[in-house]
């Protein structure tokens, strides 16, 4: 059964994909390999997971200022998440997407969720991100 959440669209856009849910913040510099879309920070619980094409839920960014540059590289390389869901306003994710629109005419949707909604997300759920920040969460996939 699908549920619907209303988030704040920081960068508008539409995307669909399987959720990859981070519970802790991540620095993309030292944390995200833009060649592969893999999460490479051994301190992070998503270490080894590939976020490329997924709907990446990440509460916020941590650490390095270079996170935005890594995300921009991944948009150009086609290894970025399909969309990013955060709690609260994370300017780093939004900036990378805004610059990607300026440079390449394509960004990725970034939507801020209420903390309660964010916590309810689970790995493997099918998620549709609407242009106005409406998130539709479907059932989990069983073939994982």
């Amino acid at each position: 059964m699908a549920s619907v959440m209303r988030g704040t669209p920081l960068v508008r856009g539409q995307a669909s994909g399987e959720a990859l849910v981070g519970r802790e913040p991540l620095s993309f510099w030292g944390g995200y390999d833009y060649h592969s879309g893999e999460i490479i920070d051994p301190h992070h619980h998503l270490f080894g997971k590939v976020a490329s094409g997924r709907i990446l839920a990440m509460p916020y960014t941590r650490g390095s200022s270079t996170t935005t540059a890594v995300l921009l590289e991944s948009v150009r390389a086609g290894t970025a998440p399909a969309a990013i869901l955060t709690t609260g306003v994370d300017s780093f994710f939004a900036l990378a997407s805004i610059v990607a629109e300026e440079m390449y005419g394509k960004g990725i949707p970034v939507v801020a969720l209420q903390p309660g909604d964010f916590e309810a997300l689970q790995d493997g759920q099918w998620i549709d991100v609407g242009p106005d920040g409406v998130i539709t969460v479907g059932a989990g996939r069983i073939d994982r």
Binding site: L10, V11, P25, S27, W29, G30, G31, Y34, I40, D41, P42, H43, Y60, T61, R62, G63, S64, S65, T66, T67, T68, A69, V70, L72, E73, V75, R76, A77, V89, S91, F92, A94, L95, A96, I98, V99, E102, M103
Partner: protein
């Protein structure tokens, strides 16, 4: 809520002042909307972290702005590049990488930036002053400027820093505003011996713990028995901005916005209190080491970039010693700081020891380490935090003295005595 723009902002945005101000201002305005700013404000200095070549997109961004004849409108320093222009051939840097990293350097220099090439711009002649509104990138520089100097910057990400430098304008939000600079997490040092507080390795370990515990809060630290040196505060901030998101901390009686506890919290009550104990610090120290055993390939110091004072403190430890032939001993710093150290006769003992310098970049920003270097030792929590993910190397954290002793012995040697009671 609508964003108020000045006549100057609107002329930038319309393209009337050229394509670079248009591109920079449109990014600033969209970010102001994301951040729900009501207005933009002036900054009088910038530090650009976008200098680090990572791949094609960052280079295309820099060269697009440079191609638009962009110029910065405020004094602007440059962070590390991704290549040591004169020394990269001694290491494993691919030629194509060096060429592209150089192009990125040239692009930012062409915009009128000051070629400082350092992640410690606060230790140059271009350091900001108390209360100055600035737009800085580089997480360790941001936390130092805010906390130790009392200048005011948000956490500026790569690509936005240069937009702020070109327009001289930023959204009036966050740490630019007095009310957002109050501490909200109380950190109390409980029974931490003075002898440990005097040791240089205490600061990165405390910072690592702080970043993990405080997240994106503003910690207020109490319980210092000593007055930390500038480089110790630098190490603390760099660590807290690696393991966490700390952009400002206060130390009561030491940092400029914390003459009293009351001032540090701006009269408010802390949201939570964290007690820092010796066992907690020991755990944090252990987290900074991923290697097992005592094998060692490289000792590396200088993240953030080594200062003149650090060269001074290092010199007597090296006197009359020589590194083990199997272990490289590397210090990363800026060309300006190396020149100062040379002038102060601090590099003779360093070179006699077998030490090598890498300038204007670091092991994390430049792919310089050959694959046979797998086990690193450092006194830097920032190197210790990022090396395993970025370089796929194992790392040992130790004090500066531990690092020198280990380089001499050819294997990891750590003095545990200060960490025990």
């Amino acid at each position: 809520m609508t964003l108020e723009l000045s006549k100057f902002d609107r002329s930038n945005l319309s393209g009337a002042r050229g394509p670079a101000p248009r591109m920079a201002m449109s990014i600033i305005v969209r970010m102001a909307e994301v951040l729900e700013a009501q207005r933009l404000m002036d900054i009088s200095q910038a530090h650009i972290d976008s200098t680090i070549y990572l791949g094609e997109a960052g280079l295309e961004f820099a060269e697009r702005l440079a191609g638009y004849q962009a110029t910065v409108s405020v004094p602007t320093t440059l962070n590390v590049s991704a290549v040591d222009e004169n020394g990269w051939q001694e290491w494993a840097v691919p030629g194509e990488w060096a060429e592209k990293a150089r192009r990125q350097m040239i692009a930012y220099q062409s915009m009128g930036c000051i070629p400082t090439w350092t992640c410690a711009p606060y230790q140059t002649d271009h350091a900001p002053t108390f209360g100055q509104q600035i737009a800085w990138g580089e997480s360790n520089a941001i936390v130092f400027a805010n906390s130790v100097i009392g200048a005011r910057t948000e956490r500026y990400p790569d690509l936005m820093d240069i937009c702020a430098a070109i327009t001289g304008r930023v959204p009036a939000v966050g740490l630019h505003l007095t009310e957002n600079r109050a501490g909200n997490v109380s950190i109390r040092l409980v029974d931490i011996p003075e002898s440990l507080q005097m040791d240089d390795s205490f600061y990165p370990v405390l910072g690592h713990l702080l970043g993990t515990a405080a997240g994106d809060g503003i910690p207020v630290i109490e319980g210092f028995l000593v007055k930390p040196a500038e480089d110790q505060l630098k190490a603390l901030g760099a660590a807290a901005a690696s393991s966490g998101n700390v952009a400002l901390f206060h130390i009561v009686g030491i940092t400029p916005e914390a003459p009293t506890r009351e001032a540090a919290f701006q009269g408010r009550a802390p949201e939570r209190t964290i007690e820092v104990t010796l066992p907690g610090l020991r755990t944090a120290r252990q987290e900074l080491t991923t290697a097992e055993g005592d094998e060692l390939d490289l000792v590396v110091l200088g993240s953030p970039h080594f200062s003149l004072a650090e060269f001074k403190n290092l010199a007597p430890l090296l006197q009359g010693e020589r590194r083990h032939p199997r272990v490289e001993f590397l210090v990363t710093t800026s060309r300006a700081m190396a020149a100062l150290a040379r002038k102060a006769d601090l590099l003779e003992a360093f070179e006699a020891f077998g030490g090598r310098l890498t300038l204007d970049t670091c092991i994390l920003a430049s792919p310089m380490l050959p694959p046979e270097i797998r086990r690193l030792m450092t006194n830097s929590a920032k190197y210790a935090y990022y090396a395993p993910g970025l370089l796929k190397t194992q790392i040992v954290f130790g004090s500066t003295q531990d690092c020198v002793r280990s380089a001499v012995a050819g294997r990891v040697v750590r003095d545990e005595s200060k960490w025990l009671v």
